[in-house]
């Protein structure tokens, strides 16, 4: 029971620091749980991170795997709750406020002023992930094809993932 509270409070601290998404605090989580607390080895952390990336769902699930490693399924649940709750409360408050000011000059300015940042952040996130993969020419080609098809056609993204996975299993990439 004590450990569950520790997990909840630990990850709740990271919630409001995760500006730009869960991946923003992964290095800090690594520093704390591997370095300071010694809950996992560096290799274990890397493995859990890879699983969270490969699995469907938000990248924030890395946190639930650390909780699972420490305290099983309840640990996974409270860790996920911890990292989501504070930021979700803030987000809820902002969403309510946003609906009240919608259409006002301030709302228009925020919406138009943030739109370019959104574009920059999405593309930067994608290119950083691409960089971390160290792909060969075929992998880059697959990535570019997926980007173009996703952009130009309103395909269900699952088709593109299935295509990529199939090419991978056939040994083409």
């Amino acid at each position: 029971m004590m450990l569950l509270w520790v997990l909840f409070l630990l990850f709740a601290q990271f919630s409001l620091l995760a500006v730009g998404g869960a991946n923003a605090v992964v290095p800090e989580i690594h520093r704390v749980v591997v370095g300071e607390l010694g809950w996992l080895s560096g290799q274990q952390f890397a493995d859990l991170f890879a699983i969270a990336q490969a699995a469907p769902g938000p990248n924030v699930l890395i946190v639930s795997l650390i909780g699972w490693h420490m305290a099983g399924v309840p640990g996974a649940a409270v860790s996920l709750l911890g990292i989501c709750l504070p930021s979700s409360l803030l987000s809820f408050a902002v969403a309510r406020w946003w609906q009240r000011v919608q259409g006002s000059r301030l709302a228009l300015a925020i919406e138009r002023g943030l739109a370019p940042l959104t574009v920059g952040l999405v593309l930067a996130g994608a290119s950083m992930m691409l960089h971390a993969l160290t792909l060969d020419a075929r992998g880059l080609l697959l990535c570019a094809a997926s980007a173009l098809l996703a952009w130009r056609l309103r395909l269900n993204p699952l088709w593109l993932l299935a295509g990529g996975g199939l090419l991978g299993m056939l040994g083409w990439v």
Partner: protein
């Protein structure tokens, strides 16, 4: 632009449930596909707004998006339902995968699958970025700001908090003084 469809709570749960389960390597492209293109709960414009706020606020972006979309249609219970839909199934799957991983990580087929999935998944995110970029007004300022954001994060690798604290107020201030210029 008005949204054409207002989901009830069950539809919110189901929609985000599918988004969560689809999101290999990143959930946002699936969220856009589901919310805008398939179910038409939001216009592209509204999705861009919600996503913009979700990215600037701390916390997992997609969870912020779920909170905002849920709250928009059904207040607190909507936000809760959307988040539960988004997170429950992936949590189950990731725990299952973690349990299986140790046993199967060496299989060549599994390694091949992951090697092909990753670039395709990243391509999807690029594709979503391009969709969002295509909606930017054809003016110099928004594009310079987008480029600056990209460079600050991807090339110069500045801390995200710093980038947002500098560029978000700058963007809003520019748009405040030139509201008609952004159209």
């Amino acid at each position: 632009m008005m949204t054409s469809v207002v989901p009830d709570r069950r539809a919110l749960f189901a929609g985000f449930f599918i988004v969560g389960l689809s999101g290999f390597g990143g959930v946002l492209p699936h969220a856009q596909h589901m919310l805008v293109e398939r179910r038409r709960w939001l216009s592209e414009q509204q999705f861009a707004e919600v996503l913009g706020l979700g990215q600037v606020l701390p916390g997992p972006n997609i969870v912020n998006v779920a909170v905002a979309v849920g709250a928009r249609f059904h207040g607190a219970s909507g936000a809760l339902v959307a988040c539960a839909g988004l997170l429950l199934a992936p949590l189950g799957v990731v725990l299952l995968l973690a349990a299986l991983y140790a046993g199967y990580q060496q299989l060549p087929l599994v390694q091949g699958l992951l090697r092909g999935l990753a670039p395709a998944a990243i391509g999807l995110i690029f594709g979503m970025g391009l969709k969002l970029a295509a909606r930017l007004p054809r003016k110099r300022r928004p594009w310079v700001l987008a480029l600056l954001t990209f460079a600050a994060v991807a090339l110069w690798q500045l801390p995200l908090l710093l980038v947002l604290l500098l560029l978000a107020p700058l963007g809003v201030a520019l748009a405040w003084h030139w509201p008609e210029g952004a159209q």
